[in-house]
């Protein structure tokens, strides 16, 4: 395989799974031109005039959609670890004797380890999406037939829009749908909140199949997915395990060290002057991320500050902020608990968004860069502020990118991370896999100190008199190294690329190599 060095100094393939690639050229350097791709032209007269598109079962729908070997099939992760549909989908595809599918999920979860046998027997050729948990390990050991492609949520939209990925059949899990195909995620036994991850697929795929376990008479209100884009509707008994779709309880971390990090984050946001009337923030669902929101809430109340909007992953904690009047809106990308689902269903100021509005590189702007502060995690950062979210220091793929890369465009990007986990240092000389260029990462907050990117002279100045433990990243790293010792590098087969990490513009940012056991 031919590898070349990209603008980030990383060696990346120029061809993946038979498709030519463009190596990363630098942040905001690559802007493809031409016209966006589109779905094939269809006519309403070819669809039932009574609007009833229900077919007998998923197998029939796939047959009608013309399923063939080598096609690209997309699914979405709003059912999270409760998803039963994707596993059922590939059981059906296997029964139909179809091979070499390119699976294009918006993310994968541990529940999808069921699909490993289909990767082994050739039903699935490779995954373009995320390779979490068991699928990540499988991929890292070089067992997948093709090369995996990891994209951000925004990068997935970009790849669909500029034709890098043509979806043959989109299979959309709809917690509620009508027979015309209108669907939403806020109602039904498998309610997941919203289904914005499926929006691009509904608009660009050749064929769109909506699968629901809660079929209602037309019209399904609200319609987060428009039936006018849908070819077939299938009713099944259950989309999955609702207790794992939304966790029901999302709890704040109890770890005193994580809470200390969260407190530092809240104090930093206030002292940097970010917390002022009308500000905005992006929160997530990790234990530290939930906790910083609570500490920030105390500071906002004490200073009589109100935010204009907060971006989720929503949880009950964001919902409380909305209901207590501490923010005008929640602009929600996915809903992590039952309170989030309820709020989205009942409160018009809890708004459903999609990767198009939030993250898309080919949009005429997106929300990510409007946000004042984003608090994110990482598995590793290096002394140049570069960060990794997909592999661990042992080289194994374990996580997807999610919206992480896209959120780096916020006005202040903070990574809130422990300085080491068990004995494994999180701050390293060079990240195992590059997912986010350091120039976009402004602050790293650990329990041992806070490092501000030297490029952010404004932040350095604003925090000059702070009581926070502001240090250089090198100093924090040296302290951690003296505790843990210097780790050996992971044993990787540099000649065998098992997956690549795309940047938000579609270029190849880094390669993930096979782990030698």
């Amino acid at each position: 395989m031919k590898l070349i060095k990209n603008a980030a100094g990383r060696f990346v393939p120029i061809e993946i799974n038979g498709q030519k690639q463009i190596p990363f050229q630098g942040v905001n350097k690559y802007k493809p031109t031409g016209r966006k791709t589109g779905a094939p032209i269809k006519s309403c007269v070819d669809f039932p005039t009574d609007g009833n598109k229900v077919v007998r079962n998923l197998r029939d729908a796939l047959k009608k959609a013309g399923l063939k070997d080598g096609m690209t099939i997309s699914t979405h992760h709003h059912l999270r670890n409760g998803d039963a549909l994707t596993n059922y989908l590939f059981d059906t595809i296997k029964q139909m004797g179809i091979k070499n599918i390119r699976w294009f999920p918006s993310a994968s979860f541990p529940v999808h380890k069921h699909l490993i046998k289909y990767l082994e027997n050739g039903t699935i050729h490779h995954i373009e999406g995320s390779m979490n948990g068991p699928l990540g390990k499988f991929t890292s050991l070089g067992k997948m037939k093709g090369i995996g492609v990891l994209r951000s949520h925004g990068g997935r939209y970009q790849a669909i829009q500029d034709g890098e990925v043509k979806i043959d059949i989109a299979v959309i899990a709809a917690p509620t749908a009508d027979e015309f195909g209108n669907s939403n995620g806020v109602i039904g036994p498998s309610a997941s909140g919203l289904i914005g991850f499926a929006l691009a697929d509904s608009e660009y795929a050749d064929n769109v199949i909506v699968v629901t376990d809660n079929l209602v008479p037309f019209p399904c209100i609200p319609w987060q997915i428009q039936g006018n884009n849908v070819d077939y509707v299938v009713k099944i008994d259950s989309l999955g395990d609702s207790s794992k779709i939304v966790s029901g309880t999302t709890e704040v971390t109890k770890s005193p060290d994580r809470l200390l990090i969260a407190e530092y984050v809240a104090q930093f946001i206030e002292e940097a002057g970010i917390m002022k009337n009308g500000f905005s923030l992006q929160a997530g669902a990790g234990g530290t991320n939930l906790a910083f929101v609570l500490y920030l809430k105390e500071r906002m109340k004490a200073n009589n500050i109100k935010a204009r909007f907060m971006r989720g992953g929503s949880t009950k904690y964001l919902v409380q902020m909305l209901e207590e009047g501490l923010t005008d809106y929640i602009l929600d990308g996915q809903t992590f608990d039952l309170e989030g689902v309820r709020s989205m269903r009942e409160n018009p100021n809890h708004v459903n968004t999609s990767p198009f509005t939030s993250y898309n590189f080919h949009g005429k702007g997106n929300f990510a860069s409007i946000v004042d502060v984003a608090v994110l995690g990482a598995t590793e950062v290096d002394i140049n502020f570069n960060a990794n979210v997909v592999t661990h220091s042992d080289g194994y793929l374990l996580h997807g990118i999610g919206g992480w890369q896209n959120c780096l465009y916020s006005k202040c990007t903070i990574l809130a991370i422990p300085s080491f986990r068990d004995r494994i240092p999180v701050i390293v000389d060079e990240v195992t896999t590059l997912c986010g260029p350091g120039e976009l990462i402004d602050v790293i907050i650990t329990e041992r100190g806070i490092a501000i990117n030297p490029l952010r002279k404004d932040l350095l100045k604003a925090l000059k008199k702070s009581s926070l433990p502001i240090k250089s990243l090198n100093k924090i790293k040296n302290e951690v190294d003296s505790i843990c010792g210097l780790p050996d590098k992971p044993k990787l087969n540099k000649g065998k690329v098992v997956a690549v990490v795309k940047w938000v513009d579609g270029t190849v940012l880094d390669s993930v190599c096979q782990v030698v056991e």
Partner: protein, 408 residues
Amino acid sequence: MKEKNNKASAGKRGNDIRSDCYIEIERKSSGGLKTDIKSKVNSMFGNSIKEQVEEMCSCFNIEHSKILLEDNGALPFVIAARFEAAYKRLNPDETKEFLPKMLRQNKYHTEKDKLRRTRLYLPGNEPKFFLNAGLHKPDGIILDLEDSVAPTEKDSARILVRNTLRSVDFYGCERMVRINQGQNGIEDLKYIIPHNVNVVLIPKCELVEQVTETILEIRKLKVEHKIKNEVYIMPIIESAKGVINAYEIASSSPGICGLAIGLEDYTADIGTQRTPDGKESFFARSMVVNAAKAAGVQAIDTVFSDVNDMEGLRRSVIEAKSLGFEGKGCIHPRQIQVVHEAFAPSIEEIERAKKIVLAFEEAEKKGLGVVALGSKMIDAPVVKRAQKTIELGLLNNIITEKWRNETN
């Protein structure tokens, strides 16, 4: 644990274990050294763990043995402690110690009247809590060898605590150890006194003899190890008898820096239970405060055991402060800040302290023997108290270092 005299183990094993390891050493008559290392961090630290095991084997001249190590991310000082404990269970007569490097930043000493608002208790056999304890900025960290360590693990915990005193950064917090009762506690001292412990806590103290015995052993160890600096003593009163003897205990030695009270055992001893309003312990707490003050040492209150009730904790500290206590035990890092805030002086207290300290400094500059504020003379203890208030104000960010220029 020991089995048949040719096999012994130490440490913890299992999937839910973090930052610790399990080591088993089996003595053989021949066949050389065989090591079997399983580590959660093998790809990064497998080689360094192997090297460490080899180093330990050569230190203790171990030959012809089978060594099993199951590691869940233990740091080198923990691996060393577990190895040494397993080896000594197999060879109880071994006196040699494998001492990890003493960190340069751990060599500080403290003062008798140092602030001791918060002392964070850490179970002495749980290494995962040690590393970051100092980051939460308690005034002191207590490595506990007593109640939190199972009787069968005392030997292993001693070695771990010894290594912790050397290898873990205490970030300037006062370095304390709570030893066991009786002879066990005297034995504990051998493992801690040579490694720069600042304060030794004596549990269930009810007789002056307990203090005297401890001090004699410390003195002996100090001579043996050529230690010059003071090791302070903090007896903990936890029984009816202890309360009655509190003054004698507190005044029994100039090395005593404070007197603490432990109410769990005390209430059991007088045959009652702890209640939220604490009437049952009012007498004991007042006795301890009074005895401490009469002896010129600090009075330190018991722990607040509901780690989720921060409001209750705050109220209990304010009450303790009103009774005359100067510190509180903490059992969770999240309690530290709440206790510090509750012990913080009020604005009025600070304003008064500023005036006194400025008057004192002015008198000093002029070489005057007496300090006067307006027409009132001010005694030395009042000046000292005001200086402490200023220190607390600084620590709680109520005033800045420039307070002298900012007075109104």
